[in-house]
Symmetry: C2
Subunit: 195 residues, 2 copies
């Protein structure tokens, strides 16, 4: 397999992943062929294998990138603050980050079924890491009396599902700004865990 | 097309839909052929057309049945009670009903993209009807001062996403009983809308 260097490889790799994401989100992983992905990028099917080992690797890379991306973006947020402040920060961050990536959210939920067991385990571990970031905030608030959460694990799952669900209906040209949605959801999140 | 009467047709129709639901949920609508569905039921591909006009009709029937089912089951629940009591009833009902139908939930979210515009509009209308049942409870509580909900439409979307999300991780043989999950989620729902 040829080793690619320089700007051609650097731009083609992301274009391949973007095309795969688009096609998988449209038709589902099982219905999309490597030939279709190559055609979408404007290359021969054979050339695609310079950029990825196979379709499973493409799916895994997309899902790993999606999780690595959110973990990295959250780590880059300002640190510190009370549990209440951190929870508000997480709420606003989670909404905004995922509204920018509706296809990634959709794929990451829908195509878990098509990962090999080894790949599934790795994606699940990344997902758990991200969930643990929220759970740590809930535990800190539970410990200092700011929150009252009977089961921090369930509260984590409940809040993430509630916030991620926004990607199913929100449109940037709709009746509500992101800021308004963040404010209304934060109001509900705050009260749901209040001590 | 032959008209089917009696018990043979009555049991084969549901078997065809059950097979289609299973296969669509496994591989995605676009990857499944009518031939595969027929094989799953143990019939010739041609015979399948006695039970359904085409694959789109099968998908539409499954999604319509899923929504009609939840609307009917909710309508059969005891009526009356305060907004708070009704909200607890809805919370427990929604969790239990959807935990019994994880494949239907998955399909109804995932395959909206594959409905024809006309079929999509009909499924969306049914979904709106169901959402309106919850929103009516929130509005009643808002009006009598029991709840404080800045935007009843958003609160509806938030609560449904939060409750439906349980189907993604809950297992009946896991660490928590349904009763315990219902109780913990009701505790969060109650506080999220409290006046």
């Amino acid at each position: 397999m040829a080793r690619k260097t320089g700007s051609h490889a650097e731009t083609t790799g992301p274009r391949v992943r973007a095309a795969a994401l688009r096609l998988f989100a449209q038709s589902g992983y099982a219905a999309v062929s490597m030939r279709q992905i190559a055609a979408e990028v404007g290359m021969q099917a054979g050339a695609l294998y310079t950029y990825t080992a196979d379709k499973q690797t493409l799916l895994f890379d997309l899902m790993r990138e999606h999780m690595a991306d959110v973990l990295e973006a959250w780590a880059a947020q300002p640190q510190g603050g009370s549990p209440g402040e951190r929870l508000e920060q997480f709420t606003r961050f989670h909404i905004n980050h995922h509204l920018d990536r509706p296809e990634g959210v959709f794929l990451s939920y829908m195509e878990l079924r098509n990962l090999t067991p080894k790949n599934f385990a790795e994606i699940e571990a990344l997902r758990r890491s991200y969930e643990s970031e929220l759970e740590a905030i809930l535990i800190a608030g539970q410990e200092n009396g700011a929150f009252s959460v009977p089961d921090t694990r369930l509260a984590t799952m409940a809040l993430i599902a509630m916030l991620t669900g926004i990607t199913q209906w929100y449109r940037d040209d709709g009746r509500l700004s992101r800021e308004r949605v963040q404010k209304i959801y934060w109001n509900m999140v705050r009260r749901a865990v209040k001590g």
